[in-house]
């Protein structure tokens, strides 16, 4: 099914076939994203970048994606400079923006903001992260990274490590992996376990999911080690934070017993979860993951805004 003209608010808005189509399209976008070929797929298209919260990677990779496809951006990078400060609702702001652009990319501090924006807008809305809620393009680029490394998304053993309670990327990623039949191994401190209802949802979807709090055991059989940031503010005191974050730090000694083809991923920015010494190993996939943001977002924009028959 085509994604032409569609809102992408949650990874749940995309079927397995649509995700596979987008990943195939993203692979074709790699030479364009590297600048070795050019495209006019978004010629005469204006994409509004409505970023009401600070973002470096996401906004710049979306802007790069639009430029690489020959389109133009309207950017709000500082919510303080908009009428929101004068008390204008997000709903009204989006109604206005949708009359100036062909699509809106939204980053907002409130969960559910993108769903509201999709209702307000007459143009497609792409969620670029709403609070601790959904971040579907991050999930797509995570899947693209795994697919590039293994040529498949089925039958992998994927360890999700760190803050599984609050980390928005892991909830969406686990949901997507469940659709592809990969094993999901949850490894977290007890206080940051995946919430019960998310676990129940994964089981309802027929996901192969298990918990393995011990990092060393989790790493042994893994194909993918997906590391997330453990945030200091989630802990009552500094000592507890240091103890927990120290036990989930990835360095070359942790990886000594890993499969040779294991890849280490991280949505970045990292804050000490992965030692710099890992960067030089063949396991490090996080910078490749950051690069793939551009071709994946190009594929998405081309699918939504390009000619209807060519939609992913």
């Amino acid at each position: 099914m085509s994604i032409h003209g569609r809102d992408i608010v949650s990874i749940r808005d995309l079927s397995r076939e649509e995700i596979e189509g987008l990943l195939a399209s993203a692979r074709k976008m790699i030479p364009l994203a590297e600048g070795s070929r050019s495209s006019r797929a978004l010629k005469d298209k204006v994409v509004a970048m409505a970023f009401f919260e600070p973002s470096t990677r996401t906004r710049l990779s979306f802007e790069a994606a639009v430029h690489r496809l020959g389109g133009n951006c309207l950017t709000i990078a500082d919510a303080g400079a908009t009428s929101l400060r004068k008390g204008e609702s997000l709903y009204d702001t989006i109604r206005m923006l949708s009359s100036y652009s062909d699509a809106i990319v939204l980053r907002h501090p409130n969960e559910g903001a993108a769903r509201l924006a999709a209702r307000a807008s007459e143009r497609p809305v792409i969620n670029a992260g709403d609070g601790a809620g959904q971040h579907p393009t991050q999930t797509l680029l995570d899947l693209a990274t795994m697919h590039e490394a293994f040529g498949t998304l089925s039958g992998l053993s994927v360890v999700l490590l760190g803050d599984l309670k609050y980390g928005r990327t892991v909830h969406s990623l686990a949901y997507a992996l469940a659709q592809f039949g990969s094993e999901i191994v949850l490894s977290s401190p007890p206080s940051l376990r995946l919430p019960e209802q998310h676990l129940a949802e994964l089981k309802r979807l027929g996901a192969k999911v298990r918990e393995e709090p011990l990092l060393a055991s989790a790493v042994k059989a893994a194909d993918v080690l997906y590391v997330t940031r453990i945030q200091k503010e989630r802990f009552a005191d500094d000592a507890e934070y240091r103890a927990v974050s120290g036990s989930y730090r990835i360095d070359t000694s942790v990886l000594a017993h890993a499969k040779p083809r294991l890849i280490v991923m991280h949505p970045l920015p990292r804050a000490g979860e992965i030692a710099p010494e890992v960067d030089a190993t063949p396991h490090a996939a996080y910078f490749r993951q950051a690069f793939l943001a551009v071709p994946v977002r190009m594929a998405l924009l081309a699918g939504i805004l390009g000619p209807a028959r060519r939609g992913a």
Partner: protein, 154 residues
């Protein structure tokens, strides 16, 4: 002739909510807004009543009031076994079971304080019914699951 014990008196016009789960009548009263009703609207409550179907049940009768669909939806959330009878001139004009729709709009607040539905935006709260027994809801905006929603009902 069998001796009938009348625990609460019949009403002339109004609504009878029967087969409420044991001990939930006070929640139903809160949804109805019993405290702010006109004093002509006599409210009778029977709790811990023997029931063939449920074992024990609660009953609420409200004189002179017909419930809005929204209030019926809210009752369906906490008392899915309830029946609602509309009484006219001491007779049951209509009797129906409460029916939880697939989406619940404008009835609950999302428990997530950071959800866009709790911000000053022109929208109504909205939940998808994921499971019915026991009821599990999901916010249509922030996708937060809600199972403990007694306190969230408007």
């Amino acid at each position: 002739m069998a001796v009938r014990e009348l625990k609460i008196t019949p009403i002339k016009n109004g609504t009878v909510i029967d087969h409420i789960g044991n001990g939930l009548a006070l929640e139903v009263l809160r949804i109805i807004g019993a405290q702010s009703l006109d004093r002509e609207s006599t409210v009778s409550v029977a709790m811990h009543v023997r029931s063939g179907k449920l074992g024990w049940k609660d009953i609420v009768k409200v004189e002179g009031v017909e419930l809005s669909p929204r209030k019926v939806n809210a009752i369906a959330l906490i008392a899915p076994t309830a029946t609602i009878s509309i009484i006219h001139d001491y007779k049951v004009r209509e009797k129906r079971t409460v029916d939880l729709p697939s989406r619940v709009v404008g009835v609950l607040r999302c428990p997530n304080p950071n959800c866009i539905s709790n911000q000053p935006e022109p929208l109504e709260s909205e939940f998808e019914v994921v499971e019915r027994r026991p009821v599990l809801l999901k916010c249509a905006f922030c996708e937060r699951f809600v199972s403990d929603f007694l306190r969230q009902i408007h």
